[in-house]
Each structure stands twice: as C-alpha cells, then as structure tokens.
C-alpha cells in the first residue's frame, strides 16, 4: 500500500467521519450530537472531492452542513429535551440489533471484499459542474423538474403540518 497524499487525505477524512458518527451515538446532549455530525458531513464532502465530485461536495456542505443541520438545531430548540433520556429501553433489543448490524456489516463486507472493481481513467474532475449541468438539463430534465415539484410540495407540506394545529388550538381556546 502506497502512502500517497491522496491516501492520507482519505484516511484522515474517513477517520473524522467515523469519529463524528461514533460521537453521535455516544454523546449525551442533543446539541452536541448534532454538532458532532457536522464534522461527519464536512468530512464526507472531502471524500466527494477525492472522488472527483467537486460540485456534489459543495452541495453537501451547503445542504447538509448548512441547511439540514440548522433545521435540526431549530427542531431541537423548538422542543423540550430532558437530555439524560437514554435509560430503560430494552437492553436486549439493543444487543440483538447490535449483533444484527454486525452480521449485516460483515456480510456486506464480504461482498465488498470480493468485489473487484476495475478502474478506468475518467474525466469527471474536468469541468465537473459543467458536466453535471449538461446532464441535468438534458438527460435528467424531467427528474430534475420533478424534484423541484417535490421540494415545493415538501415546503407547502411542512408549513401546513407545522401551522395547522396552531389554528385548531386557537379555536379551542
């Protein structure tokens, strides 16, 4: 195995991502968990760069590290949290789930291990954004437009969901 700069970068980013994930599982305060996850998201953006997907990396930072994390923080702020929540829930379930996930990971790992992927030179890193733009506006135009519809629906839906009850409550009072 050759320690190229690329490899070192990968190792570092991967480590950060995994540590972020583990912290998410083990931290006690909800806010801390979310913050831990920001590291993971950013690290993943780095991984994308390594995979010659600069545009996706940018989107990743914008949406995950930016938008989604902020949304989650708002969610946390708008609700009450008795933070030492981890307690009674079934130990057995956790154990079984852990074993199951371990088995699953192992099985998939065997698949990955035996999976020999050929590598051919690509031009993905050249004008990545241009390529994506061309593809999006030609081949994937319909899914793209549908996505916009989806986002619109999600926007309207969330507003209604979040708002509707308030009105009712107001009616009650």
């Amino acid at each position: 195995m050759i320690f190229t700069g690329e490899f070192l970068a990968f190792m570092g980013l991967a480590l950060v991502a995994i540590i972020g994930g583990v912290l998410l599982l083990n931290l006690n305060k909800v806010i801390h968990m979310v913050v831990a996850l920001i590291f993971t998201f950013v690290a993943i953006a780095g991984i994308y760069v390594l995979l010659s997907a600069e545009f996706v990396a940018a989107v990743q930072i914008l949406i995950y590290s930016g938008a989604i994390t902020i949304i989650m923080l708002f969610g946390i702020m708008l609700t009450k949290h008795d933070d030492e929540s981890e307690a009674k829930s079934g130990k057995w379930r956790k154990l079984f789930l852990f074993l199951g996930i371990l088995g699953f990971a192992f099985a998939v790992y065997i698949g990955i291990y035996n999976f020999n992927v050929e590598q051919v030179p690509t031009k993905l890193h050249e004008n990545n954004t241009l390529q994506i733009g061309e593809a999006l506006y030609s081949k994937y135009i319909i899914p793209f437009e549908l996505t916009s519809v989806l986002l619109l629906v999600a926007l309207v839906g969330s507003i209604i969901l979040a708002k509707n009850d308030k009105k009712k409550e107001a009616d009650k009072e």
């Binding site: 379930r93 079984f96 789930l97 199951g100 996930i101 088995g103 699953f104 192992f106 099985a107 998939v108 065997i110 698949g111």
Partner: protein
Amino acid sequence: MEFVHEGCQAPCSIKGIVIMMENAWLIPLFPLLSFLILLLFGKRLKEASAYVGILFTLASLVYSILVLFERFSEPTYGTNFEWLTIGDLHLTAGFEVNQLNALMLVIVSLVSFLVHTYSKGYMQGDERFPVFYAYLGLFTFAMLGLVISPNLLQTYIFWELVGVGSFLLIGFYFYKEEARAAAKKAFIMTRIGDVGLFIGMILLFWQTKSFEYKEIFAAVDAGEISTSMITLTAILIFIGAVGKSGQFPLHTWLPDAMEGPTPVSALIHAATMVAAGVYLVASLFPLFAASKTALLTIAVIGAFTAIFAASIGLVQTDIKRVLAYSTVSQLGYMMLALGSAGYVAGVFHLMTHAFFKALLFLAAGSVIHAVHTQNIEEMGGLWKKLKLTGPLFLIGTLAISGVPLFSGFFSKDEILAAAWEGGHPILFLLALIAAFMTAFYMFRLFFMVFTGEARGSQKHVHESPANMTYPMILLGVLAIIAGYVNTPWFGTFLGDWLVDGNEALAQHGHIEGPVWIMIAATVVSLAGIYLAYLMYYKRSLARNWLSGTGDTLHTIVLNKYYVDEFYQLTVLAATTAISYFLRFIDVFLVEGLVKGVVGIVQGLGRAGSKLQSGQVQTYGAVAFIGLALLVVIFAFTGGYLR
C-alpha cells in the same frame, strides 16, 4: 339425433309396413304433452283441463290399440339412438314394441283413459283440478315410457318417474298430514327397492357392457355371466320389483297410498304402477330363468306376500284398504307365477287383474263419492241405492274371487297350475289358502257395503254421474271377458302369442294344469264366498266365531302384523340413532378440530399483536434483524438454500 335401426331384423324390413310401431314413441308423448300444457295453462283452463287430459290419453289409447293390432302380424320392432357417451361407452335410448310391451301399452293407456274420464266426475269441484290432471298426465307418460323401454337404464329412468308420479298423486291432498306421510313413505320405500334395481343394473352392465335387454339375454344365453352373478343381479333387480309391487318386506307403503284420490288408487295402485314390478320381472324373464335360486326366491316371496296380505285384508274396515291388501296379495300371486316359471300365467293375471281391480277401485270410489266415508262399518244396504255401482262391484268381486267364467278364474287357475307344475306343492297350498281368503274378504266387503241395513248417516245417496259409470261399465265387461283370451277351453291365444318367436320364453308358455286344480280352485273360492255369506249376509255365524275383536290374533292382524311398527323401531330408529351419533361427532370432534384451528390462529394472532407495540423503531428493528439474518445466511451459503 341419428336413429340407429338395429332392432329391425330381416323380416320386418322386407314386410315393410310398420308405420304404427315405427312411431310408437308417440304414445308416451301424448300424455307428456298433456302434462306440459296443463302445467303451463292449467290455471286458465280450469275444468276444461279434463278434456285436454282425456283427449291426449285417448290418442295414446287409440294408437296403442293400432300398435297392438299391427304387432299381431308383424315381428318385434325397436330402434335406438345414442343418449349419452362416456368415453368409449355408448349408452342408448330408444323404444321397442314386442308382445309384452304392446299388450302393456294397451292396458296402461286403456286404464289411464278410463281413469281420466272417471276423474272428471269424481274430482269435480276440487280447486286443484288442473293439477290433478297434470299429474295424471305425468304418471301416464312415465308408465307408457317404462313399458316401451328397450334397455334397463331407460327402464330405470321411467321406473323412477313413475314413482314420482305416484308420489305426487298420493300426496295430492297435501294439506292432510296422512297424505304427506303416505307420499313420503311411498317414495322412500320404493326407493329402497329401486336401489336394488340400480345396483343390479350396474352390476349387470359391467358383465355385459350393455343395458340392452337383447344383449343381456344373449350374454346369459351364451353363458358369459357366472351363475352366481346372475343370481345376485336377478335378486337385486327383483328387490326393485318388490318395492314397486308392494311385495312382502316393502309392502307397507301400498295400503297407506290409499290416502290419494280414489281414481289414482285405481290407476296406479291397482292396475299400472304396482304391476310394473311384475312387468319388470316378466320382461327380464330370461335372466331370471337362468337362475333357479332367483326364481325360487321370487316364488317364495310371491306366495308369502299373497297369503300374508290376504290375511290382513280379512279384518280391515276401510274399503280402500281392503282393496289395497287384496292388490298386494294379487301381486304376490303374479310373482308366484313368474317364480314358478309361469311366464304367461303371470302376465295373464297381470292383465285380468288390471281390469277387475281398476273396476273395483272405481266402484269403491263411486261408493265413497255417494256416502262420503270409507269405513265399511258405516255403509250397508247400498245395493238398492246404487243400481249401477252395485252390480259392477259384484262383477269385480266375482272376478277377483276366481268364480268360474269370470276373468280372474282363468288367470288364477293358470297360476295355481304353474305353481303345481313348477314343483312347489307348499307354495301351491299357500296360494290355494290365499285364494280362499280372497274370496272370503272380498265378499265380506261386498256384503257389508251393499247388503243389510244402512248404517251410519247416509243422507243423499245417489248414483254417480255418467262419466263415472261408463268407464266402470267398460271395465266390467272386460273383467268378464278378458279371461277368454287364454283358456284351457277355448284356446290359449294370449299365451301362444306372448311366447311366439322367443325361444327363451317358449318353454315358459301356457301351462296346462291337471283338471283337479281347476276344481279345487273353484271349490275353495266358493267356500270362501259361502263363509262370507254366512257371516255377513245371513249372519247365521257370529262374526267373532273364530276370533273376536280384541283377541290377540285379531289385534295382530288388524295392526298388519306390526310391520310398520317394526320398521319404526328398527330402521327408522337406527337411522335416527346414526344421525345423532354423527351429529355428536360433528359437534364435538369436527367442531373440536375447528376450535383447535381457531385456537392456533388466535394464539398466533395474539402473539403477533404483542409485537405490534405501535413503535416504529421496534418494527424497524425486527424487520432489519430479519433482513440481516437473511443476508448473513445468504453470504455464508453463497446463494440459494441448497
């Protein structure tokens, strides 16, 4: 439908002109038409229905007579078409006109026609008048169809239809509980017999691969069927005849069937349907003749029924029941004749009996019509009031008693001769005793009804209308002269004709008995009449000189030897017991099974519903663990479960 002419042997195609017989299938069709028309339009036709029925049966009658006359000069005619294909088995339907069939056609259509005419008067005013005629049409159709059937299957089909016709007519007064019970009993009792016929027929089929009489007889002749099989099938078929003809173990329905309207009793339970059993045995005679055991069985059952029913007839007080038991007894005679290989004797008596018994029933109907009761204790002295019915009834009584010169005398004589010649001296003796009893109870009936003082409340006693008396007169004439077609004195035309051209039957033709038999028969019947005369007319002999009312013997006989009660206690009770036992199984075992199944399903359901905590995470966890398990197994085994 393609008609296959196979019954037509060489001579007939040369002689050619068999127009009447060729279309003999029309004969049963006329009454069927009558049935259908009345069924559909009866309500509108009302009383006019009678004319429809009468006209169609008249057509049948005329046609039957023409066919009979044609049959005198022409050989047997028959034709078939394919009715049902079962793979390579081809079952046919068709018709055949042989001597026996032709004779039966005339008897049946004649009696039916007369009864149709008679009923016009008798049933006057009944609100279901058209229905009655419709039923009569159905019955006549079935009976005529039965008579011309060329194969066992078709015979069986019409055999059952005849049973239904009889069932419907017995239950005609459906609102009477007795009628309902009687109809049900008649149907089920005859069905028991029919099953015998059914089994016998099918067994025979697998022996010969055919239902055709001709082929069966050919196979019997050629010795293709083992003797034991012949005996078995013959006896099974005879069971069918036992059911229909009211022979001993299955006779109980026939007296009860008297709940039907009286013309029906005359038609079905005297002249035609009950004779179907005898007819069946007669038309299958070559089969029976091939087995000594079968013949003996028939003879013994016939003789026993004859004396058994006669003894019950001695004490009955219902005019129709007396006649019913006498019918059973006379049918026993016919069976005895056939069982003693007296083919001609049996058929001959069948014919004469049809006439005089129909006469008796119609006359009895006329009496009932006049006095509105069936109990002979409440009659008496009707001779002067019923100027026509009385003498006619007397003619019938004389004929059935076997008084010389009347038709019954000749046929009964021939049966006695057959029994004697057939080597059954004991059966002969039984028959003789039965003849004595017959004479006695018939005259007892006659004296009680027509002579002496009027008992009971008879107010407006009047003779029946013309359309009731004319049929009786015609039958009266026949009851006198029908015997002369086959007598030892004037030639045995009927006997010779019946067995003509049929080798299997030739040896069972007319039987010339010793003269002493004739004398003995005469003496016996005269003795019976004299005894009845002493007891019921002169009353010089007390009615209870032998056995008073209330005596054990009298009670037993009056209750018909408790056969009904016996069945009630054994067969019916057993059936009910089995049914309840099975219900026990159904309720406890099968339902238990059900409960078990339900329990398991419910248990599974409960266990399942515990998993339904409503928490998405649990669901997800369970689903994922399952998936993981599958994936792991998949990974380790490297593919499908092998």
